[in-house]
């Protein structure tokens, strides 16, 4: 009896399922219509190309000769993982990310605290703030140009100023010793205002009584920072670091303009190496495999972050 009944229950349940789905569709049909174009566009422009990229990555494909490509299976992936230049570019990306993000963070935070104290009790918003915001708003290509101009060895203003304070001329991007450092400096200039601005917004949004209380208790600036600001801003800090992490992993524009990865390969980040492999060496299958490995790294970071964000509701209001 029971044995006979069980399937009917299951059938009933499976019948209920689609109608539940239909009901859900009906309830959300309006929202689905609103979202449909976006989802279709992004499917066509990201998911479909990525699947195509997986296919391409299985071929030994020299771009100028599309008809002579040969199926090689997973060989490209093996080749990337044993490519010394790939790992060197990963290391350079790591050094670049570590130094530029940590200095941006420390400098940006310090400036945010400074401006926060400066603004408090003053209704007149600083007119100079937009001037500071310009670096992060202009095109990265222009940032690269501006710094190339400043780094001019013979007639550039930086070397002139260095000479005035008794330091001999630097070669900046032209020398292997200082090229990566020069790019890191440009990146710090570009993105420190971003950290400052976001941190400042975070500080302004905190309950201001907190600061009055800690001030009356005679807390030092360091104590305020360590015990009040940093813990309360952990959500803001998480978002800032996340955005900087993902953006600097993709860094390419400034390097394209300032050094083209050189001298030699000392400033060749992994994004730039993948770009060169595809569009200069024309080994498009190999480049596809490499870029998919990069995508996997990003996806792992993103999934980890998604879990944290979902749990902490960081992206909710």
């Amino acid at each position: 009896m029971n044995a006979a009944r069980a399937p009917i229950v299951e059938v009933a349940a499976s019948l209920a399922e689609p109608s539940g789905f239909k009901a859900w569709c009906r309830a959300n049909s309006f929202a689905l219509v609103l979202l449909a174009p976006t989802v279709l566009i992004l499917l066509a422009l990201t998911i479909f190309p990525l699947i195509y990229s997986v296919y391409i990555s299985l071929f030994d494909y020299y771009l100028p000769r599309p008809h002579r490509r040969a199926f090689v299976g997973l060989e490209n992936y093996g080749a990337v993982l044993t490519d010394a230049r790939f790992w060197a570019s990963m290391r350079i990306t790591g050094i670049f990310m570590f130094f530029s993000i940590s200095i941006q963070f420390i400098l940006g935070m310090a400036l945010a605290v400074f401006f926060f104290d400066e603004f408090r009790g003053r209704s007149a918003k600083a007119v100079y703030l937009p001037l500071i915001l310009v670096p992060m708003m202009i095109a990265p290509v222009v940032v690269g140009y501006v710094w190339r101009l400043l780094y001019q060895v013979e007639f550039g203003p930086l070397n002139y100023m260095l000479l005035q304070i008794g330091i001999s001329r630097l070669e900046f991007t032209a020398s292997a010793g200082t090229a990566l450092l020069s790019i890191i400096v440009a990146d710090i200039w570009q993105w420190t205002p971003f950290v400052t601005l976001v941190m400042l917004a975070g500080l302004v949004a905190l309950p201001q009584e907190l600061f009055e209380v800690t001030e009356m208790d005679g807390a030092s600036t360091w104590q305020r920072l360590r015990y009040v600001m940093l813990p309360l801003l952990s959500r803001v800090i998480a978002i800032v670091l996340l955005i900087r992490l993902l953006d600097s992993f993709r860094e390419l524009d400034k390097i394209f303009i300032m050094t083209q990865g050189g001298p030699g390969t000392v400033t060749e980040t992994v994004s730039y190496y993948a770009f060169l492999t595809g569009f200069k060496f024309f080994r498009i299958g190999y480049a596809a495999a490499m870029s998919l490995l990069l995508l996997a790294v990003t996806a792992i970071i993103c999934t980890g972050i998604a879990k944290v964000l979902h749990k902490e509701q960081i992206f909710e209001r």
């Binding site: 992004l42 710094w147 995508l295 209001r317």
Partner: protein, 269 residues
């Protein structure tokens, strides 16, 4: 007290100079006569200003690039603002797709551009779309559309839902709720979303570089090609770059209040 205050002003002055000097240097370089640029020691305040390099830059490839950038960026802005408003509203009010659908949309903005452009280049080549506006416009949507969705979602989450509930009681349709109530309330947000989409598309480099040749080249692509072609013609090069700064200055002034939200994709107010 006075000493402390003046120390603060000095500190502010230093910060402003450090962050603005490079821009200033670019602007004066574009207005110095060519021979002046190569002088040593460099002149920090040029004795004479000239705008002739702007005219030269415009005649050269700067003018076409400016027009191309305006065409591409305007269309991208309109599409992403409209779709971002609709999609952001769907996410804010109907919670479709829970957490994962909006996060997927966000993650497309975060992926390495080089991973997207390799297959996109091959596909666009097969469809004969290389060096066409359509290709650049489509691909720029990868950058601006996720942004617009998340930005508008954050603005709609802020507008009160009670007004829409009341209108629903009075028999308004869902479409009317959106167009007659939600959109007018979120109008400043829509304006900001449009402005930011404009700048993101305006600044985008890699996609446009790979997908264009001579006809549809945008401003950043032309800027990137100037050095190799013209050796040391710094004034013309900086003049082209300076023309690209105009919308950015407008944004920095007009949208100051919304900059944080825009740059964190609506995550921080």
């Amino acid at each position: 007290m006075l000493a402390r205050q003046s120390a603060r002003y000095v500190a502010i002055a230093i910060v402003v100079v450090v962050f603005f000097f490079p821009i200033y240097w670019m602007l004066i370089t574009s207005m110095k006569p060519q021979e002046e640029v190569l002088y040593y020691p460099p002149t920090f305040v040029p004795p004479e200003f000239t705008f002739r390099y702007y005219a030269e830059a415009f005649d050269f490839r700067g003018g076409t690039a400016l027009i191309n950038s305006l065409i591409v960026t305007s269309i991208v802005t309109v599409i992403s603002t409209v779709l971002g408003t609709l999609g952001g509203y769907a996410f804010a009010r109907y919670k479709v797709g829970g957490f994962h659908l909006p996060f997927w949309i966000l993650s497309t903005r975060m992926m390495p551009q080089v991973a997207a452009i390799i297959p996109l280049f091959l596909l666009m080549q097969q469809f004969g779309m290389i060096d066409r506006y359509g290709a650049v416009i489509a691909v720029h949507l990868i950058v601006t559309l996720p942004f617009a969705i998340w930005m508008m979602r954050s603005f709609f989450l802020e507008t009160p839902v009670e007004l829409e509930e009341a209108a629903l009681m009075d028999g308004a349709s869902k479409w009317q709720l959106l167009m007659k109530i939600a959109v007018p309330l979120a109008a400043p947000g829509i304006a900001m979303t449009a402005l930011f989409s404009f700048v993101f598309s305006w600044n985008e480099f890699l996609f446009a570089l790979v997908l264009t040749r001579r006809v549809a080249t945008t401003l950043p692509v032309v800027i990137s090609g100037l050095y190799s072609q013209h050796g040391v013609l710094w004034p013309v090069m900086t003049a082209v770059a300076a023309m690209g700064l105009i919308p950015i200055f407008i944004l920095a002034v007009v949208a100051q209040r919304y900059l944080v939200r825009g740059l964190t994709l609506g995550a921080i107010k």
